[in-house]
Subunit: 288 residues, 2 copies
């Protein structure tokens, strides 16, 4: 499927790192339709227009937009607010919606509660691509290249719509994979949200104890290890709130392993410590 | 100071990643003296000889070695065993000793207990350079380039000996910095041993829960985040045993921050969660 066959227009709501990277990718890969953008910070709209990324120069998109893909690229809990802004500033005829949020069940629940009429036209996506840097100025045309985007089908989706959204991500050179929303939220709690929790708390603990000496002797490796602790606070606050249940489970799961190792260290258990590290190394190496 | 003025010979005990990298660096930077090597695995000695890295082809270094720097590049708790091997296989006249272990107080304690006659000729060093890969075959001639080596002076050291060992590391293009042994062990418990503990336990928890699916959807970032969990198990078992007190303290310090964040998530405290992440980001960004 060519993307232009599926959509005449693309409208990105939220022009931060991910939204901005979508705009730059569409330009880079020469999308033949029209591209629009909205952001709660209206100055960013003007900026994106000046960069030649979007057609509108302010919030006024007064004419009717047909065959439009709307992409919400916003913090997870801002979906209602963003839909309100969208309704206020645009005139969409039969659009298809998607998003880039890191938690999927909460977006679905919010839609069911606040905007049930949109559900059947809403395809949930999550591009596994990002950076600790924020904002349009940090966005990249190749952010999604060779990365994976998870599509989370729900019971009201039409397969044709799922395919259109998959076509969109493929056009940005991203691979796609379908997973159920709750399974997505569970596995990403463990493999993404938990490492962020750990990185944030490690950085918190180190800075409280070592202050300006934190990175003094680490030769770059600790800077690298805590890199994701510089990620967008609002985005991560929302993820914690939206995926609370799975994140708490994943922290408890991690604490179990940490307590086990702490016990072995306190117990000075030479043999079991070696067995612990050997087994972990063996597990990790087996996955590579 | 030219390294050849300080030493006629260099003898590396332990030809793994770090020891092997020392040999390759000495060759790369054309050290003018003679280089020897010993390893508990005698095949490695032959291998290093075949690579043109050391003069001896087996454990037999029968002639007298004068003005020799001996570098113990071994797991932290193997120092006594390595000294025994050294005495068995070499004939050293008035040597100077150093090591590359990650914990310093325990090396000093072990010397005081088992080999007190060596203490005044033993300079403690710790090059902050490594890899999750092991062995001579993974060693690199530029492993120490632009990295930092910590020198931990103790009360029996002569300043002239400290300077000779600093000259050695500088010759391998490493920077040097002096820190007291216990201060070293405390700060590296926090900035190096703790991140390793976290990485090992995260990998343990994830693999136990997700098995072969652990890296399936993470797009490379989790592989990177857990990279150090593939580090040498014996080396890390020894570090845990040797720096037990400081590592336990650092784990408790980390657990405090983790419990705080867990509490905020469970409490659904929107405002405090945002403040937590913002403060951590601000701290980290202020250090860069």
């Amino acid at each position: 499927m060519k993307l232009e066959k599926a959509f005449d227009n693309i409208l990105v709501v939220g022009l931060g790192l991910v939204g901005g990277s979508i705009l730059k990718s569409l330009k880079y890969y020469s999308f033949g339709g029209d591209v629009y953008g909205l952001d709660s910070d209206h100055k960013i709209i003007t900026e994106a227009h000046k960069l030649g990324l979007i057609k509108n120069q302010d919030t006024k998109i007064t004419h009717e937009l047909k065959k439009t893909l709307v992409i919400f690229s916003i913090p997870t809990l801002s979906i209602d607010k963003a839909i309100k802004e969208l309704k206020k500033y645009s005139n969409l005829i039969d659009p298809l919606f998607t998003d880039t949020c890191s938690v999927k069940s909460s977006v679905l629940e919010s839609l069911k509660k606040e905007n049930p009429e949109l559900i059947s036209n809403f395809v949930l996506s999550h591009p596994i691509a990002g950076s600790e840097k924020n904002g349009l100025s940090s966005s990249l045309p190749n952010l999604f290249e060779k990365k994976l985007t998870i599509i989370c089908p729900h019971e009201d989706n039409r397969d044709s719509d799922l395919k259109k959204v998959e076509c969109f991500w493929n056009e940005l050179k991203s691979l796609t994979k379908r997973l159920p929303p709750d399974y997505h939220d569970d596995i990403f709690a463990k493999t993404s949200h938990l490492p962020h929790v750990i990185s944030f708390t490690l950085m918190d603990a180190l800075f409280k104890n070592l202050g300006l000496k934190t990175f003094l002797y680490s030769g770059g490796s600790l800077e690298d290890y805590t890199r994701i602790a510089s990620s967008d606070p609002l985005m991560w606050k929302d993820i914690m709130m939206a995926n609370e249940k799975h994140i708490i489970e994943s922290i408890e799961m991690f604490k179990d392993s940490l307590e086990r190792l702490l016990f072995l260290i306190k117990d000075k258990d030479d043999k079991e410590l070696l067995s612990f590290f050997s087994s972990v190394k063996k597990s990790r190496d087996s996955l590579l």
